[in-house]
C-alpha cells in the first residue's frame, strides 16, 4: 500500500486516533491498578460490601432456616452436611476400589509365581530321583557282592554328581 492509499483510508485517522488513545489509556490504567492507593480503595470497597451484606445475609439465612424447619424441609446447612457425608462415602468407595485393584494385580501375577514354584519343585524332585537311583545302584552292588567281601564305603560325592538342591 502506498502512502497515498493509506492517506485515503476514510476510517484510517479515526483508527489511528483510537489506537493511540487506547495505548495511552491502557498504560495509564495498568499503572493505576498497580498502586497502593488502588489496593486500598479496592480493600475498602470489599470491606464495606462485606459489612453491609453480612447482616442481611445472616437475617435471610435465619429466616429461611426457620421457614424450612416449619415446612419439615432440610436447611442449607443440613444439605451441605449431607453432601459432605456423601463425599466421605465416595472416598471410602475409592479406597475399596484401590484395594480391589491391588488384589486384581496380585491375582494376575499369581500364575507366574505358581509356574516359578513348579520349576523349583521339579528341581527338587529330580535331585531326589537321582539320589534314589544312586541308592538303588548301591543296594544292587551290595546284593551282588561276594559274601564276606565288604563293599567299599562311599565317602563324599564324585565331581560328576550334582549338588542336591534343597
Amino acid at each position: 500500500m502506498s502512502q497515498n492509499d493509506a492517506d485515503l483510508d476514510p476510517f484510517g485517522p479515526w483508527r489511528q486516533l483510537r489506537d493511540a488513545t487506547m495505548d495511552v489509556w491502557a498504560k495509564s490504567m495498568a499503572e493505576t491498578v498497580n498502586t497502593e492507593a488502588f489496593a486500598q480503595n479496592m480493600g475498602a470497597y470489599l470491606n464495606t460490601y462485606l459489612a453491609t451484606s453480612a447482616p442481611m445475609q445472616k437475617f435471610v439465612e435465619q429466616y429461611m432456616e426457620a421457614t424450612l424447619a416449619r415446612l419439615s424441609m432440610p436447611s442449607r446447612d443440613e444439605v451441605i452436611e449431607l453432601a459432605r457425608r456423601m463425599v466421605s462415602v465416595e472416598m471410602r468407595l475409592d479406597d475399596i476400589d484401590a484395594k480391589l485393584d491391588t488384589l486384581l494385580r496380585h491375582l494376575q501375577t499369581q500364575p507366574a509365581a505358581a509356574a516359578q514354584h513348579g520349576q523349583e519343585l521339579n528341581g527338587h524332585l529330580q535331585a531326589i530321583q537321582q539320589q534314589l537311583e544312586r541308592l538303588a545302584v548301591s543296594t544292587a552292588a551290595l546284593a551282588e557282592a561276594p559274601e564276606g567281601k565288604p563293599v567299599p564305603a562311599r565317602r563324599g560325592r564324585t565331581k560328576a554328581e550334582p549338588e542336591p538342591q534343597t
Binding site: 497515498n4 476514510p10 491498578v33 498497580n34 480493600g43 452436611e81 463425599v87 465416595e90 472416598m91
Partner: protein, 371 residues
C-alpha cells in the same frame, strides 16, 4: 519548485471511492456477524476431542482421551494434565486444530486430564493439600490402573503447576513419577513488586478471613474480575475492539469466541484453598522459604528429582516470570530445563502461535523421556 498534482496529493478518486465502498461493505458484514453473535446464533464449541471419563470423586473427574496413533507408535509413559483451580481445563483442548490435547495425541502420547470440577458450598473447607495430596494421588492411581503403566508424566499449568509441584515434592522419590512439566508456575513470591496481585492481596488492604467467612467459596466471577483488572483496558474494551475489527473473518471470530467462552466460564475457588493461596503463598512465600507443611510433613522442592521442564511466558502479566525462574534453583532435579516462550500467560499454550512455538518444544523435550 513545482506544485504537486491532484493525484499525487489525494490519490485516485476512483480508488478512494472503492476503498470507502470496501470499508462500508466490511462494516455491513461485521454488523451482521455481530448481530448473529449477540443473538446467540453462533456459539463456540470447545473441548471437542473425544474422551471418556474413567474416574469420579467428589467434583473431580479423570478423563482419558482416545488415542489417535497406532499402538506401536505410542509413547510408553502416559501424560496427565492438571489445570488450575480457577478456570475450566478446557483450555488444554480449546478447539479442533488449536488443541494441545489433540497435538499430543497426534504425537503418540496417552493423554489423561484431571478436571477438578466446580466446588460447591460443601467443598469450602477443601485445602490445597486435599487437591494435591489426596485427590491427585487417587487420580494417579486410577491412571496407572487404566493405562497399565506405573510410570507417568505430570503436566501442571498455573496453580495446577503448584499442585503438581506439591505432589512431586511430597511424594519424593515416587518411582512412578517420570517427568514433571510446569507451565507458568507461580512458586516464588519473594518479589513483592512483581505485579498488582502482591499489593491487592496485602494484609493491610485485603481481609481474606472476612471474605472467606462471608462467602465460603470465592465466586469465580470475582477471581475473573481480579484477573481482568490486571489489564483493564485490554480486557474490558480492547478485546471487543479486536473482535469488531475482525468480524468479517469467520476464522478469527470462531477463535475469539472459543477463547471468550473459556474466559467467561470461571470456577469458584474453594474458600480454605484460597485463604491458603493468599496467606501461605502470596504473603508468606512458605514453599520457597522451606516452611510449608502439609499433613504434618515439610514440603521441600528439593525432593523433586525427576526430569523437569518449566515453561514461562515472557509477557506473562498474571504469573510474572520471576515467580517461576527462582524456583528452578530450589528444585532438586539434575535434569531441569527452563524454556521461555514469547507471549502471555494463556497465549503461549492456546494462542495462534502455540502450535508452532510451544507445543513442538514440549514434545521435543518429553518424547525422549517417555520411553
Amino acid at each position: 519548485m513545482t506544485s504537486p498534482t491532484y493525484e499525487a496529493s489525494y490519490g485516485d478518486p476512483g480508488a478512494a471511492a472503492q476503498k470507502l465502498y470496501d470499508e462500508l461493505d466490511r462494516i455491513y458484514k461485521a454488523t451482521r456477524m455481530g448481530a448473529d453473535l449477540a443473538s446467540g446464533k453462533r456459539s463456540a464449541k470447545i473441548a471437542q476431542t473425544p474422551k471418556e471419563a474413567i474416574w469420579h470423586l467428589n467434583k473431580a473427574t479423570l478423563y482419558h482421551y482416545f488415542p489417535q496413533t497406532p499402538l506401536e507408535k505410542r509413547h510408553q509413559v502416559p501424560l496427565l494434565l492438571v489445570f488450575a483451580l480457577i478456570n475450566r481445563p478446557d483450555i488444554f483442548d480449546l478447539r479442533p486444530g488449536n488443541s494441545f490435547v489433540e497435538f499430543m495425541l497426534q504425537q503418540g502420547y496417552e493423554v489423561y486430564l484431571l478436571d477438578w470440577g466446580r466446588p460447591g458450598p460443601e467443598d469450602s473447607s477443601l485445602k490445597l493439600e486435599d487437591y494435591a495430596l489426596d485427590l491427585l494421588p487417587r487420580a494417579i492411581r486410577k491412571l496407572q490402573s487404566h493405562s497399565g503403566s506405573q510410570e507417568f508424566t505430570l503436566l501442571g499449568w498455573c496453580i495446577g503447576a503448584v499442585l503438581t509441584s506439591l505432589y512431586a515434592a511430597w511424594s519424593g522419590r515416587d518411582p512412578g513419577l517420570k517427568n514433571l512439566l510446569l507451565l507458568t508456575a507461580p512458586l516464588d513470591f519473594s518479589k513483592k513488586d512483581a505485579g498488582p496481585f502482591n499489593i491487592w492481596l496485602d494484609e493491610r488492604y485485603f481481609n481474606i478471613d472476612a471474605l472467606v467467612e462471608h462467602m465460603g467459596n470465592v465466586p469465580g466471577e470475582m477471581i475473573d474480575w481480579g484477573n481482568k483488572m490486571l489489564k483493564p483496558v485490554e480486557n474490558f474494551i480492547g478485546n471487543y475492539i479486536r473482535l469488531w475489527e475482525n468480524l468479517d473473518d469467520p476464522r478469527i471470530v470462531e477463535s475469539w469466541q472459543a477463547m471468550n467462552a473459556w474466559v467467561n466460564d470461571p470456577v469458584p475457588f474453594a474458600g480454605a484453598s484460597f485463604r491458603q493461596w493468599v496467606v501461605d503463598f502470596f504473603r508468606e512465600n512458605k514453599l520457597m522459604n522451606g516452611t510449608l507443611t502439609m499433613r504434618g510433613e515439610l514440603i521441600d522442592l528439593q525432593n523433586i528429582e525427576v526430569p523437569l521442564l518449566s515453561v514461562i511466558a515472557d509477557k506473562d502479566h498474571i504469573v510474572p516470570t520471576c515467580q517461576s525462574i527462582a524456583a528452578m534453583d530450589r528444585i532438586g532435579s539434575q535434569d531441569k530445563t527452563l524454556l521461555t516462550i514469547p507471549g502471555g500467560h494463556i497465549g503461549i499454550m492456546a494462542g495462534s502461535g502455540a502450535r508452532k512455538r510451544t507445543w513442538p518444544q514440549i514434545d521435543q523435550w518429553l518424547a525422549p523421556r517417555s520411553k
